[in-house]
Structures are given as structure tokens and as C-alpha cells.
Symmetry: C2
Subunit: 148 residues, 2 copies
Amino acid sequence: MRISEVAVRSGIPATTLRYYDTIGLIDAQREPNGYRAYDDGVLERLSFIEAAKQLDLALPEIAELLGVVEGDSCTQVRDALHPKLTERLREVDAHLANVRLLRNRLVAATRRVAACPDSGASCRSECMLLGERRRVCHTDDEPNDGGE
Amino acid sequence: MRISEVAVRSGIPATTLRYYDTIGLIDAQREPNGYRAYDDGVLERLSFIEAAKQLDLALPEIAELLGVVEGDSCTQVRDALHPKLTERLREVDAHLANVRLLRNRLVAATRRVAACPDSGASCRSECMLLGERRRVCHTDDEPNDGGE
DNA sequence: CTAGACCTTCGAGTTGGCTTCAAGGTCTAG
DNA sequence: CTAGACCTTGAAGCCAACTCGAAGGTCTAG
């Protein structure tokens, strides 16, 4: 199979396939004329890559897993994959906590700014998001559009 | 005030302050010798910038807001700031939804891989994250560490 | 023989917010 | 006069995962 056929059958652009080749993620044979020659197995490998990308794994990580996946037993694959997934889950949870914190800050800031008086002593601090930034005023509700 | 003093008092590196100058975020006067000369107001402006960065606003956006903040009335500041914040809140909520979806996929994949048989017909599809990716198996619980 | 569809490589550009580097100007204490 | 602390600029590097462009090789139909 040449690169354009792989591109059509996998839905991944030929430029990206070449890129995957240069970083060693997908290794292609070569025809005598230098064209890349892919076997049918590449489609399964690309499916794996796409699935792993859906899980937000980095390409070097996927390349490492792909090395295990190819030709090893299910047990070995599982033992390689499972820790990566749980680790990734931990990272995603940490990220989720950060984003939720950001959201709380946003809700608090939106409320403070909305409540900003037209003038007065507190006016600058209210409107400019300055002052007492410590009291973050936790609003744990989520996509629920706080006040306003 | 010279740049190093601003750096110490604001906690922002001098290199970053110069960068803020080049992108027009903070405009500094100049001494006759060419050194940047900051007035005291810069510290408040930097506080605003830091606060806005905490809310994940982009620097060009912050620059725009800073233009309004400077010297305009509280009402004008509020009217400029409030829509930005609610818009940002909407983006954050959208991002949050995406991350939650990713998390659900991760939990489902982790379970499937953990349940991967040592061999057999389903072995490859289970272990390689292939097949029936449509049944995402929603687990709406959050940082609660799914199965395992 | 030639148009044109396909393939190759290499290098640079994209995104944002810096950081680092290199080369050089300015000021002050001793 | 000189060491050294401070300041300046412009350019390049960093992160990921591509994406694009240029220049050129290969193959086939007409």
C-alpha cells in the first residue's frame, strides 16, 4: 500500500503519516523507487494510535506502547498499558481540579465586577480585580452559571 | 524606579517586564540614558495583569482591558470587563466538559484493559483499545478513582 | 514526449508566553 | 582606570503535533 491509500483508508493525512515516520511512530518499508510501502497491519496500528490520542497520551508515549503492543502477549500489553492509563487518569484529575479552581475564581470575579459600584472607595479594587484575592468565595456548583 | 526594582517589588522577572514592554502591555518612560523608568502605578497595573492571568485571560485581551482600566470610570471598566469574564467562563465550562469526557474515556479504557484476558479472541481488541469504542460506558463519578 | 498525478526530502511556520544568549552601553566605588 | 553591577537590543530557543512550501524524482496515459 502506498501512502495515499493508507491516508484514505485511515483518514489520517499523508503529511501526518510522513511525520509519524520521521519520529519513528510508524515504520514503513520502501519500494525500490523510494516510495513508502505499508502492509495491512499499519491500519490496526493507526487505530491504536488514534485511540491512544483520544486518551490524550503523548506521541512518544504511544510509540513506546506500540513497541510493546507489536507481537507481544496480551498480558505484556496489559501490564504496559494499564499503568500508563492510571497515571494519565491521575494527571487528568489534577488538571480537572485546576480548571475547577479557575472556574471558581472566574465566578467570584464576575460577581465582584458585576457588583462594582459606579463610584466610591471600593470602586477601584472591585472593578480592577484587585484586593482581597484570598477570599476566593468557593462556589462548587459547576456549569450552572453562577450569579448574574 | 528602574526595572530591577519593579522586578523585586512585583515578583515578576525583569526579562518578563521587558517582554511586556515589547508587546505593549506595560509602557515605560525612559531615562536620558535609555533605561526604563517606571512610576509607582506600574505595580497596581502588574497586580491587575497577574489577577487577569489567574483568570486565564490572554495577554492581548489583558492589554485591551488595561487600556480601559487606565483612567476611565468604574462603570466603563465594569462594562468592558464583565462580558470578557462571562465569555471566559463559557469557554472554561466548554473545556471542562471536554476534560470530563476524556476522563470518562480513560476510566472506561482502564477497566477494559484491566479486564483484558490473558489470551483469546477478544484479547487484541481489549488490550489494544480497539473495537466498540462507541460504548463509552459513562461513569459520571469524578475524582473517585473508578474501578481497579 | 509531455502533462499531470503521485511520491520524495528538507526546512520553516504555526500557537503563547516567555527564557536565554550574545554583544555591547552606563554608571559607580575604589 | 577598571571591575563589576546594572542596563540595552535583537534574535533565537522552547513546548507539541503537525502543516505548508519549495524543489525535484517517478510513473503512466495519450
